[in-house]
Amino acid sequence: MEIKFKLNGKEIKAEAEADTILLDLLREKGCYSVKRGCETANCGLCTVLMNKKSVLSCSILAVQADGQEIVTLEGMQKEAEEFGDFLANEGAEQCGFCNPGFIMNVFAMLEEIEEPTEEEILEYLAGNLCRCSGFVGQTRSILKFLEYKKGGKKEV
């Protein structure tokens, strides 16, 4: 069936079967930042924003996106670069495969909680797995980013 939805700010039309998974449609539409890391909704690699909330695109039918607003990292390049700089300053981007999903959820978190505590960060992002970094570098990068956002100076 034909569906219409907003993808990264643009209204698009797409043809989707009843069982097309949103993740696959997004990749087909060129949003290669959206990755699949598991089949059980456990890894967080496919995280995108749906109506500003972070969701797992592996667990949504493409047809369910009809009429909704979807944002992937392709639609937040400037923000990704800005935050990504902090991540890279820790070396915590590592293999990068989990980065897009992780970064999308960081943005969702900051939308919801202005100044999250370390504990809130760990809880909010618990559904984003990473096997390379051991997570602590990612946490450091978020804390430094928050500091910078608050008007502190950028640490290199």
């Binding site: 990704a80 990504g84 293999c95 990473c130 997570f135 602590v136």
Partner: protein
């Protein structure tokens, strides 16, 4: 300007954090065939009959291959230097199925739905065989995993397929039995580690196509492009020259991708159909049929004299290689060589081992590579020995550890400890965790108990005399440099740290160096990134290549200036005469390199090392235990590492943090379980829980760098050693907290709660 020992960003950072399409599946052509494999539902069976005719009729199916369609060259999927120590015990598809998940048939089609449908329509009649699921019962069992005539061990490693032996042997020094009898203090214990899954976020994958020369091109998420080339050449019977392997960005490796887990399937499809094909392993497949850690049971006996000197070490390792022998003969060695190398006072040791075939999934090369298993055993036993002597376990270690200048005992990588600050690592870690105040344990306000535990580790830096690092450096017409590598950055940042080394030697800016890799047609030969080799041996190759290029630049500059080369110098910007009279800029030399030039500004160097200098580290854990529920939390983990010069301290730190988190996962959560049918039950991330960020709250890493003189910048390895301390440090901390000695990983709340209950009764 110096880049080595600076925390610069990774060269690919921006692409990765903005989600650019740089991984295998992002690059695969949209119209390539989808390849899937029908997997054996039985642990041990023979295919009596396989019917594919109905399945082949599904619209969109391009080919279905069975054991009748594959070359009969046995090979190993282990990505090792030829001749591989792993036996040649595989076919691409075999009539004999040896574990649940073994490949029964290959299906390729235009879309996933068609392939799924065809998979269901293949009719297989299995003759089910009795299986060997308990690795204690494998050796000399009547049930043979590899009865085939053409099974072959290329290298004598004590293998015997008629005894289910993938390798066996004994090494010793002195009379360990006699010495153990003399020792005042002796402990003995058996320690069991399971077959952890590597769980890199990007599963195994590759796509293949034929180029205009009819050669097989393979784009693969692999750590070993050159080995893949050779393996495919053999397995497909076309020879390595017909294969080109390209490695894009990789979504994690940890050793998993040192085995050619996925490549053969799309490769044979492309050869048979002439069409591009891709295979993307599902997480399910990555869990049940890939390349996990070797399950090992390590029996240790230690003896110390009245002064507390560790005198005798006896180790027996039983290793489970599963259905095939990938990395079986080699991983087992590290279970003794690395722990032995940690201690200096050993007068006699013995190391006996059996590596057995079973009907489990084949094991592979996982970070630590046997050292992790052996170090868990020996470092646990060391604590038991120290307790028997009545010594603080850290003090006992400090008394006995290897020091710089010592002869190594039992370590096969180097005769002498060329660089080591292990004593400093111990002292620093002790201070960081406040050992003297906290050891062995204390109670928290809410009635929980906290204990501290310590462990030491070492690894190697490359396989001595075997691994080859390669680097090609060339100057471009704009005086930039291109560094071509055969080493495989898998997210670790080796492309960047090697460029840092190159920039320092060429005295240029890091931005002026382009890194390229890997393409087996273009890149210099490199064994690949494994065995903690890249920083060390590829680093040597990079340094030497850059030095040679400097010389060539100088020669060309001198030629243009028309002066003898010995009267000139190159400072990265220009070649100038020593008298300061004349000079020519690098840019001008570079331009000359493209016009009327007979001097190539292009150098390729390969390097290997006769020694494998180990990095060392001390890890200390503080755990909090709820005595009623058995809940355990690692509240603090400190590590002090001697990796020689940390070429990029940030990346070295993240390697350490990541390795520790993986080690904590192995110690606490990752619990591989097989059922009685031989099915691996942890077949998803839902059933195989790797740590999430709430599970690893606090990790603190410091460095105590020695200087390894055999490396141009004093560096040693970091990638693997970092996974080795959590299992023993956490087990020791649990003992120190509640008096329970847990000898099988993982340490679950159940083991603690039930163990304490038993102790009470």
């Amino acid at each position: 300007m110096s880049y080595v020992n600076q925390s610069v960003q990774k060269k690919d950072a921006k692409a990765l954090v903005t989600g650019q399409p740089v991984y295998t599946d992002d690059l695969a052509p949209a119209d390539c065939l989808i390849v899937k494999v029908l997997r054996s539902p039985h642990a041990h069976a023979i295919i009596e009959e396989i019917k594919t005719d109905i399945a082949k009729k599904v619209p969109g199916i391009a080919c279905i291959l069975t054991y009748e369609d594959v070359p009969q060259n046995r090979f190993t999927m282990a990505g090792q230097t030829y001749p591989e120590l792993s036996p040649y015990d595989r076919l691409i598809l075999d009539k004999h199925l040896r574990f649940v998940g073994d490949a029964v048939a290959i299906v390729a089609g235009e879309n996933e739905k068609a392939v799924d449908k065809a998979l269901k329509l293949i009719k297989v009649k299995y003759q089910i065989l009795e299986s060997v699921l308990d690795f204690h019962k494998a050796k000399d069992s009547e049930i043979l995993i590899h009865p085939e005539e053409d099974w072959e061990a290329k290298v004598p490693v004590g293998a015997d397929n008629h005894r289910n032996l993938c390798a066996s042997g004994v090494e010793s020094k002195g009379d360990v039995e006699a010495l153990l009898k003399e020792c005042k203090y002796v402990v003995e214990g058996t320690y069991h580690t399971k077959a952890n899954q590597q769980a890199m976020m990007e599963t195994f994958r590759a796509y293949t196509y034929l180029d205009h020369f009819g050669r097989l091109n393979v784009v693969a998420s692999t750590q070993v492009p050159f080995h893949i080339r050779r393996i495919l050449g053999r397995a497909l019977g076309i020879g390595a020259s017909k294969v080109r392997v390209i490695k894009p960005r990789i979504g994690g490796g940890f050793g998993a991708k040192q085995t050619s887990v996925a490549e053969v399937y799309p490769a044979i499809v492309t050869l048979k159909t002439g069409k591009p094909a891709k295979m993307i392993y599902s997480r399910y497949e990555s869990q049940i049929c890939s390349s996990p850690r070797h399950e090992m049971e390590v029996k240790v006996r230690l003896g110390a004299d009245e002064k507390g000197l560790l005198r005798a070490i006896d180790i027996y390792t039983l290793s489970n290689t599963g259905a095939y022998g990938e990395h079986g003969p080699t991983t087992v060695g590290l279970s003794a060589h690395k722990p032995l190398g940690l201690y200096r006072n050993t007068q006699a040791y013995r190391f006996t081992y059996d590596v057995v075939y079973t009907n489990h999934m084949s094991a592979g090369a996982y970070r630590g590579y046997g050292a992790t298993q052996g170090i868990f055993a020996v470092e646990s036993a060391i604590d038991e020995l120290a307790e028997k002597i009545g010594m603080d376990p850290v003090a006992f270690r400090a008394l006995n550890v290897s020091r710089e200048g010592d002869a190594f005992v039992g370590y096969d990588g180097s005769p002498v400890v060329t660089s080591c600050t292990l004593d400093e690592c111990i002292a620093k870690a002790k201070e960081m965790i406040d050992w003297d105040k906290k050891y062995p344990c204390y109670e928290t306000e809410d009635g929980k108990i906290r204990g501290v535990g310590a462990a030491l580790a070492m690894q190697g830096s490359s396989i001595a005399g075997v691994d080859v690092g390669g680097a090609t450096i060339k100057m471009g017409e704009d005086a930039s440099y291109t560094l071509s590598l055969g080493a495989t950055d898998m997210g670790t940042g080796c492309d960047t740290i090697l460029a840092q080394m190159a920039a320092d030697i060429l005295e240029t800016r890091l931005e002026n160096i382009v890194v390229f890799g890997v393409d087996t047609d273009i890149s210099p030969y490199d064994s690949g990134s494994y065995a903690s080799a890249t920083t060390y041996v590829t680093g040597m190759a990079v340094a030497d290549a850059c030095r040679e290029l400097r010389q060539k630049i100088k020669e060309l500059g001198a030629q243009i200036l028309d002066v003898p080369v010995q009267e000139t110098e190159f400072d990265g910007q220009k070649v100038y005469t020593l008298d300061g009279e004349r000079e020519i800029s690098a840019e001008e030399i570079a331009v000359k390199g493209t016009c009327g030039n007979n001097q190539s500004l292009h150098v390729t160097v390969n390097r290997s090392s006769e020694i494998s200098p180990p990095p060392f580290m001390a890890g200390m854990a503080e755990v909090e235990i709820d005595r009623e529920t058995g809940s355990i939390e690692v509240v603090d983990y400190v590590a002090v590492v001697d990796c020689g010069t940390p070429v990029n301290p940030n990346l070295a730190r993240v390697q350490t943090e990541g390795g520790l988190a993986q080690g904590i996962g192995m110690a606490l959560y990752e619990d591989i379980q097989y059922n009685e049918k031989g099915q691996m039950r942890n077949n998803s991330f839902m059933q195989y829980k790797i740590p999430c960020r709430q599970d690893v709250k606090k990790i603190r890493v410091e460095f105590a760098p020695s200087y390894e003189k055999s490396h141009p910048f004093g560096a040693k390895s970091i990638g693997e050693i970092v996974i080795n301390t959590p299992c023993p440090a956490i087990a020791n901390a649990v003992y120190n907290a509640v008096g329970l000695r847990i000898k099988e990983m993982p340490v679950t709340p159940e083991k603690i709660a039930m163990g304490l209950l038993e102790k009470k009764i």
